[in-house]
Structures are given as structure tokens and as C-alpha cells.
Symmetry: C4
Subunit: 193 residues, 4 copies
């Protein structure tokens, strides 16, 4: 499902019709699409981070129940909605409401992921051989998107336009959390050794 | 396939072009999309419930035959059609025929799921270690959508507009059936113990 | 891939804009979409039959090589093209060239499937425990689409409009072949017994 | 993900509206779509080659880490972008900038695949039972797309139009590399024998 939503992001970028046929007209037409290209990259990175985390967490589980299925569907719904809010923001990249709408979508996705992980990453769903440090890393990691979406939402209200810069840092933030998890895992291994 | 149909629901929501560029114009433009947002949520919940049930039932089977394959394809066809009937209803949210068309699509999907489960959930397809109570729960559960779609269809005929309210209760109804299944399973376990 | 192409068939059916808002105008608007609905069902059945056969054959294989990968990609290409040729035919349901184009697409898909199965259903790719009768059934079955597409192509040339009737019989023809395979399998089992 | 991007290539080909309804008008309308058909085939072959290689390499791995996940997401992003750049080139098949844009997309995808394979095809990710010759074949193979995209980019600059001919040779080039790998594997086997 993440794979489908992430691939559908592209279909909202339409082939431009330049005013002339020379190279300069084409460069200008493509330059006008810059917000769409940036929006595509940004949404791809955010959905990609959600996807990677989702894949890792479900690899840590040994069984589900209806509560997890419905929490998961709620998360998927917010991700499936991304192609719309991404297109909305890309079409109007410097306006307040579209940017706040986009940040709100991300915030909801982030909260639903956090809620899903909090429910799933414990008995009786969690596999017993998963190190505690990995579980804690995933739980902390699921706070990254809600936090960054909140900052982005506030920035969109104050100064629309550069409000998505914090979201661009998503891979770095996630890597920072992942490294945090690694370090703890090594510490745990050292303690066990 | 459910994952694809459920994700395609979003592509019928188009970016609005507000009359002005101030916040009020944007809020109004987004407010006009409310039926599309509600239609997206409703169809997502219905297809999600079908998907979850489908996934569970196919996990209970040990083999297929052509009869199951074709019954399954018929169900998938009715689900793949949902993005159209969902867009039809969302574009004309208070008109009788679009709403009846939508309910009819759901009714057909519900009947095809019921028919598929009735065929599949027995020997020689059913795995022998599946508790009878689970099988009965899934069979009863597959009655939920046809029943609710019938109510919705009749309501659309009498008073178009609020006719989809029963469908909104889908997760509750399914949960109610699931709990029913749980209780029976406990009863069976107690009898066996 | 089949799942994606089969689901994309729906996105070429667009929400109609009826001339009035009463029930009669709506019924007429939906009636005008009849060729699109029939085209959707027809293409779904054909792609569904290809999908089911593909799934069964790949379950009979134990390994691949580049020749199979490329033959498979060629088949997938002809299937991925179906949403276009299906929309072309549905938009112009009584015209000769769109119908011949559609039949040609099916013919190419049928030949590519036949070629893939002929290459794959033998040593060293075929699992050794697959009964010969099943292999022969799948090989004969892969002749059904090229044959029916040829008939449909010729009919489209002579009398466009009803030229797709033979394709509608796809499930029956496939079932007929499947039963043929069953009967032979029983004969083989009897011989072995 | 490759399956989705490769199937979405078709949705940028729109049903033509011929000037008349006779066969000649239809043949002309379809002839006008030739660049779209060729672009579809070309992009399908390129994405198909990337897909096949990706599938093979991930079958050679025993585990991942965040570095591989993010390198993989970067590759997927460049592939998910293909439906846009493919439509851009197909709509303007003889103009310099769209063709260079398309070649640039392929070049980036090729470089990202090369980078992913270089990182993944070694300890501790590589399964230990994978023959060295296969690893070397995949590494050499991942040079094919960057090289061909560079040639295509230069040709698009000098003489737009026939600049995609080298890309058409993709399956042959990949087969050439695959055969190279086979030969080496046989040589290795002979040495081991």
C-alpha cells in the first residue's frame, strides 16, 4: 500500500505546454514545475520513511488482532490521502492554507503511526526475540514525524513557503534515531556479554 | 488488489481552484470538497473491511480450485469498480441515482464476498486446524455488508443524502461480529477443556 | 502487475455530467456509459484469466533464467497496455479500428503468454512433481486467448459491435479446458493405479 | 514498486479523438500516437531491466541495514518519476530538452542502482553461497544503464529524435552482460571441478 501511494505521487505532475519550442522556453516551463518536483521529493521521503518503519515493525510482530488491523488501516488511509495533499501544496507552494493542510495530513499520519506502534510493539504481538533496544528505538522514531509536522504546521502559519524545510531533514532525523537505537543495542549487547 | 483499489480512491479528488487567494477563499474551496473527503473515508473503511476479511479467510485455506479463483475474481471486480462509484457519489452527494448506484456496488461486492466465503470455508479448501467458531464468525461477518448496503440503498431511495450513515458504522458492526466470534471461541474452548 | 493493470481499468471511466438533475437524466447518463461498463467487465475477465493462468504456471516452476524473465516482461507489457486499448474501444464501441486494435492487443498478449508457457513448462524450470496432465492442460489453455482474439479480430473487421461476444465466453472456455485437464488427470491417475 | 511504476506508464497515453469516423481518420489518429507507443515500450524495457536486476540482487542478500534501505528508496524515487519524464518525452518526441530530461532521469536511476548494488553486494549483506561470478556480473551489469543514458543524453543534445536508439538495445546489452556472467560462472565451475 505504501508502494502504491508513493508511486501515485507522480501522476499529479502534468506535462507542461511551453510558450515556444526553443530551449529557453522549455527551461522556463520546467522551472515552473520546480515546486511540483520538490513536493514529489519531499512526499516521497516522508512516505518512504513511514514505509521503512512500517516494514521493520511488522517484521517484529508474531501475530495481529482486529485492534492492530484497524489502527493499521487508519494509518494507511492517511498515507493514501497524501497524493492529494501533496498535489494541493505543490500547486500553491507559497499559500498558507495548502501548506497547513499538507502539514496536518503529515501530523495525522505521524500520530496514527505512533499509536499503531505503541499498540503493536508489546505482548502478545511482539516477537520475544526482538531486543528491547530495537523496540525503544522504533517507539522513539515514531515521534519524529508528529514533531516535525507540528513545527512545519506552525511555520506554515507564520511564514508560508519555507515551512517544509524541517520535513526535508526527515532522513537525517530518522538516521539520528536509528543510530541512537544502534548505540543502545551495542550497550545492551555489552551488558549481556 | 484491495491495496491498489483502496489507494486509487484518492485520485478522483482534484485540487480545487479557489476564487481568491486569501485564507477565506481557501477554506471555502476545501469546504466544497467535504463530500469528496467523506466519500474517500467511507469507501476506504468499506474496502478496508473487505480487505481485512479477505486476508483472514485466505489465511484459513489450504488450497484453491477454479471455482474459488473465479468467485474471487468476481469479488475483486466489484471492488476494482469502487473508485468509479465512489467518485460518482462524491461528485453528486445529495442525488438519488448516484447514491443508489454506490449502494448497489457495495451490495454486489457484499454478496460476492458472502458467496466466496461460503464456497471457500469448507472442505477440502479449509485448513483442518481452523476452529469452527472462527469459520462461523467469518460467515456471519460476511452478512454485514449486504445487510448494510440494502439499508443504505433503501434510504437513498427515500431520502438521499444521509443514506450512507449505516455504512459509516461498518467498523463497529464488524467489531461486533468479531467479538461475537471471540465469545463463541471461548465457549468452544471451555467446552473442549 | 496483473493486479495493478486490472485495477487501473476503472480509471478510464469518468463521472458523467447529466443534462438535468432528475432521475431520468441520471439514468440516461449512466446508460450512455454502458459500453464503458461492458468494456471494464470484458477486460477484467480477460486479464483475470491471464492472471489466474500466470499464477498457476509460476507455482509449477522451480527456477527461472533470463529467457523466462524477458518473455514474462513482454507478456506483462502487453497486459499493462490493456487500460489504453480497453478505453479506446469503450469510447468508440461500434467502430472498426478501435475494436480491431483491442483484439490485436489481446492477440499479442495471448501469443506472448503461449510463448512464455511453452518455454517455462519444461525442464529445467518445471518442478518434477507436477503431473504431466496439468502441464498439458495449461499448454492447451494458453491457446484459448489467441484463438478467441483472432475470431474477435475478424468479426470486428466484418461487423464491428458484436465482435467481442466470443471474448465474453472466456471463463467458459477456460473452464472447458480446465475440465479437460481434470479428466485427463483422472485418466492418468487411473492408468497409474 | 517497479510493478506499479511500470504499469502507470500507460495512463499518460490518452484516447485520441479522430477528425472523422472512417478507417483512414482512425489510422491517422493512431499513427499520431506512435511516439507515445514507442515511449511506452522504451520505458517499459528500461524499468523492466531495472526491476529484473533489482529482484535478482535482493535474492542474493541475507539482511539489510538503514544505508541499504535509503539507497533503495532513492533508486525507487527515480523510477517512480519515470511516468512523468516518459510522458514529457513522448509528448514532444523531437525536442531537445524533453529528451535530455528523459535521459537525465535514466542516468540518475542508473547511478542510484549502481550505488545500491555496490553497497549491498558485499559482506555482511551478501549471502555467502552466492558465486563470486554472479556478483561480478550484477556489478558490471549495473554499469549498462548509466553508460547508455550518457550516450543518449549526448545524442539528444546533438541530434534530438534518434537519441533513444541506444536505449532500445537495453535487453541485448543486459543479455550480453548476463552471458558474460554465465561464461565466467562456467569457467569458475571448471576451475573448481
Amino acid at each position: 500500500m505504501f508502494a502504491i501511494a508513493i508511486t501515485l505521487l507522480v501522476i499529479e505532475i502534468h506535462v507542461p505546454e511551453p510558450e515556444g519550442r526553443d530551449d529557453a522556453a522549455w527551461m522556463q516551463a520546467l522551472a515552473h514545475l520546480t515546486p511540483h518536483f520538490l513536493g514529489f521529493v519531499l512526499s516521497f521521503v516522508v512516505v518512504g520513511a513511514l514505509w521503512a518503519a512500517h516494514h521493520r515493525v511488522f517484521g517484529m510482530l508474531q501475530r495481529f488482532d482486529p485492534a492492530i488491523v484497524w489502527r493499521n488501516l487508519a494509518l494507511l488511509m492517511s498515507v493514501a490521502f497524501m497524493p492529494f495533499s501533496s498535489a494541493l501544496m505543490s500547486t500553491h507552494p507559497t499559500e498558507r492554507i495548502p501548506e497547513m493542510f499538507y502539514s496536518l495530513n503529515l501530523f495525522i499520519a505521524g500520530v496514527l503511526q505512533w499509536r499503531l506502534f505503541r499498540t503493536a510493539l508489546r505482548a502478545p504481538f511482539l516477537r520475544e526475540d526482538v531486543p528491547l533496544a530495537d523496540v525503544l528505538a522504533m517507539r522513539r522514531r515514531s515521534l519524529a514525524l508528529p514533531l516535525m509536522a507540528t513545527v512545519s504546521f506552525a511555520l506554515a502559519f507564520i511564514m508560508p513557503g519555507p515551512s517544509n524545510i524541517p520535513l526535508m531533514l526527515m532522513p537525517l532525523v530518522v538516521a539520528w534515531f536509528a543510530r541512537g537505537g544502534m548505540r543502545r543495542r551495542q550497550a545492551t549487547a555489552a551488558n549481556e556479554g
